[in-house]
């Protein structure tokens, strides 16, 4: 086990199960966003949480501008964690761009993963008329970067200052110790650039592991048509449209999110045993 990777990526392992379940955050936040969903799997699975280098409680000193200038670098983080823990056939759950990062990782080392669960995924946020509608024009995404920059004026210590406002909610103590949502403006901005200007559509048909797409209703970041596009392009995918709205169902609708993940995993294991039965016939 490679201790340096585990501390570099702030890897935390919970739960009593055998099967590894790796939760990858999306853009902007750290592993704490998974708290509610991940907790519900701790009884049956080995829950693994981590932060990308540059976010959460990762080792910011390990940040390399070149490596993390595109999503491949973040996928390397995932592979490093898998290698350090000697993981095989993990269930990968990725929110938003975390799903894409997991997909890229699975293309490089498919043996690490058994399933890819994508929560509000999008392979490409930019519109590419006439056939692809990612949801955004370039100017709008540039506007987002601008908005981020504006908010980083004076953000660096804003979060630590806000810590004391949660004395009445001790269960959040763990959250407060970490730097929730990347505080380093430069790293966050570079992550945003790597995330929002990426186009991984051509990789989709190459994905070999089975995939669950959890699509939110009224998600302006990953709209329904994008989820459907993914379902169409991924060779072995299951598509579920959630009642959850917005882009953060794991935080806003943790029960529904957990439910769909569990249902998918159950169905899968039943199918496997059915297949086995068929295989037993003379």
């Amino acid at each position: 086990m490679n201790e340096s990777i585990l501390s570099r990526n702030n890897v935390n392992i919970y739960g009593q199960g055998e099967i590894p379940m790796l939760f990858a955050p999306g853009f902007g936040c750290d592993q704490n966003v998974w708290r509610l969903v991940a907790e519900s799997f701790e009884k049956d699975y080995k829950v693994i949480l981590f932060d990308y280098v540059g976010s959460g409680n990762s080792d910011i000193g390990a940040y390399d501008e070149t490596r993390y200038s595109n999503l491949e670098g973040y996928a390397e983080d995932v592979l490093d964690v898998c290698a350090a823990l000697d993981i095989r056939d993990a269930i990968f759950v990725g929110h938003s761009v975390g799903g894409t990062i997991g997909m890229l990782a699975s293309l490089k080392r498919p043996e690490y993963f058994s399933d890819l669960i994508m929560l509000g995924p999008s392979p490409c946020y930019l519109n590419d008329p006439p056939h692809y509608h990612g949801g955004f024009e370039r100017e709008e995404l540039l506007g987002l970067l601008e908005l981020m920059e504006k908010n980083y004026i004076g953000w660096a210590n804003a979060f630590s200052v806000s810590a004391m406002s949660n004395i009445d909610r001790p269960e959040l103590a763990r959250d407060l110790e970490s730097r929730f949502c990347s505080t380093d403006p430069i790293i966050a901005l570079q992550f945003a650039q790597a995330t929002f200007f990426t186009d991984n559509r051509k990789d989709l048909p190459n994905v070999r592991i089975s995939t669950l797409i959890l699509q939110c209703s009224e998600d302006i970041i990953a709209p329904v048509n994008v989820g459907e596009y993914l379902h169409e392009q991924l060779p072995t995918s299951t598509y579920k449209l959630m009642e959850a709205t917005g882009h953060c169902p794991h935080m806003s609708y943790p029960e529904e999110t957990s439910h769909f993940i569990r249902e998918y995993l159950m169905d899968k294991s039943e199918n496997v045993s059915e297949l086995k039965r068929i295989g037993d016939l003379p």
């Binding site: 506007g143 302006i220 806003s252």
Partner: protein, 410 residues
């Protein structure tokens, strides 16, 4: 109190956890240009610009969901008319409810300042980036330079070794060339002094003085075009031919023909290496005091009579190695005791300045030959500006009594 809330100097907005607008005060409505009914029940996205909608999902929602207050978050609202309104938002999930209370303060002026700040920072950043790039380029250039320098140093070292070896070789060659030079002759009938200096290590000039028999002396001076190694090689090859032939006492025309043939033979298959050569050959007979001579394109030799009259032994044919099948005819003259001869190559003095030589000979008609040689060398040095880089060679001959006179004294 209702009015106070409605017309407070800040916008007020209540959202459900899902982002549905539950209430808004008049200040906010006026800012946005909406009526309350138009907003109630709508998603907050309706009053956000597209970037703000994304930002809301990525930052606002997670912060509220983890139970923290949103503090001084910068947002861009969109009014009914599509006008962007920069605002700062503070928001909290109201205790005991699932409602989010938001306070919005427009910040047009501050926004402009911040824009300025951002522009300034971006400029500084790009300047820094430029600097870093420039530095990187410089470092690469420096490394290349260092590599090149190291290469140069190596080459230089090789070159130095090569130079040292070449110099050694050349020095040895010079010694060999000089060893082939004949010694001065001094007896009762004739005295011969010579001077020989190469411009580089090796010379394209050559001379030879030979006593063929008690009465006959062969004196030759030649100049192969150019100077340095190539010329000296040809010179040495000619030297071996004339040494053999002169010692046998051949006639001047036969000697010249042989030297001419030798040169043509050297270059018949290679135009590139073609060289020609100017030669004077004197065959002096001290018994009957005659001189047979042939001048093939060489600067004229000077013959000063004991009466101080001077004659030029001018060119009688083109240089050897030029036209094939040339005919060589020698000239003959008689001399007397006290006559002097000077043979020289064009490195000694510019042919146009040859009057200096004749003047010198005239001024010192009777000084001993070694003294005249010194005077001549002084003159050559004074006139050296033009021909410094050419090989230099000259021969001085004092003609004395014939054998008859000696017999008289016996």
């Amino acid at each position: 109190m209702e009015d106070r809330f409605n017309f407070a100097p800040c916008g007020f907005l209540t959202l459900s956890e899902e982002g549905t607008i539950l209430s808004a005060n008049q200040t906010l409505l006026q800012l946005l240009g909406y009526e309350l009914e138009q907003l109630m029940g709508e998603n907050v996205n309706i009053i956000l610009t597209v970037p703000a909608r994304v930002f809301y999902q990525f930052y606002f929602v997670p912060i509220i969901k983890t139970g923290k207050p949103v503090e001084e978050m910068y947002f861009s609202l969109k009014s009914l008319d599509g006008v962007e309104i920069p605002v700062l938002i503070n928001a909290v999930l109201r205790k005991g409810t699932r409602e989010i209370d938001c306070v919005l303060v427009p910040m047009h002026k501050r926004n402009e300042y911040e824009n300025e700040l951002l522009i300034a920072r971006k400029k500084a950043e790009s300047a820094l980036l430029e600097k870093r790039k420039a530095n990187e380029k410089l470092e690469i250039a420096l490394k290349e330079l260092e590599t090149k320098q190291a290469e140069l140093m190596n080459l230089n070292e090789e070159n130095q070794t090569f130079k040292t070896e070449t110099k050694k070789e050349l020095h040895l060659a010079k010694i060999i060339q000089e060893a082939s030079l004949t010694s001065p002759i001094k007896n009762d009938f004739i005295q011969i002094e010579s001077y020989y200096e190469a411009s580089s290590d090796l010379s394209g000039d050559m001379f030879g003085v030979y006593q063929i028999n008690p009465h006959q002396y062969g004196i030759i001076i030649l100049d192969v075009m150019g100077h340095g190694i190539s010329s000296s090689l040809i010179t040495m090859s000619l030297q071996s031919v004339f040494q053999r032939l002169i010692s046998k006492g051949v006639s001047p025309d036969f000697l010249m023909k042989e030297l001419d043939n030798h040169l043509h033979g050297l270059f018949q298959n290679n135009e590139e290496t073609w060289h020609y050569c100017t030669v004077i050959y004197l065959l002096i007979n001290t018994f009957n005091q005659t001189v047979h001579y042939l001048n093939a394109g060489h600067p004229p030799a000077l013959w000063q009579h004991n009466t101080y009259e001077q004659y030029e032994l001018s060119s009688t044919c083109p240089p050897i190695g030029t036209f094939s099948n040339m005919n060589f005819d020698y000239e003959t003259f008689n001399y007397e005791k006290g006559d002097r001869l000077l043979l020289y190559t064009d490195g000694v003095i510019d042919p146009y300045d040859s009057h200096y030589l004749s003047a010198l000979l005239k001024r010192y008609p009777t000084v001993p030959l070694p003294v005249l040689k010194e005077k001549l060398l002084q003159l050559v040095e004074e006139q050296a500006t033009y021909h410094q880089e050419d090989d230099k060679c000259f021969i001085l001959i004092d003609l004395k009594d014939g054998v008859d006179v000696l017999n008289k004294g016996m």
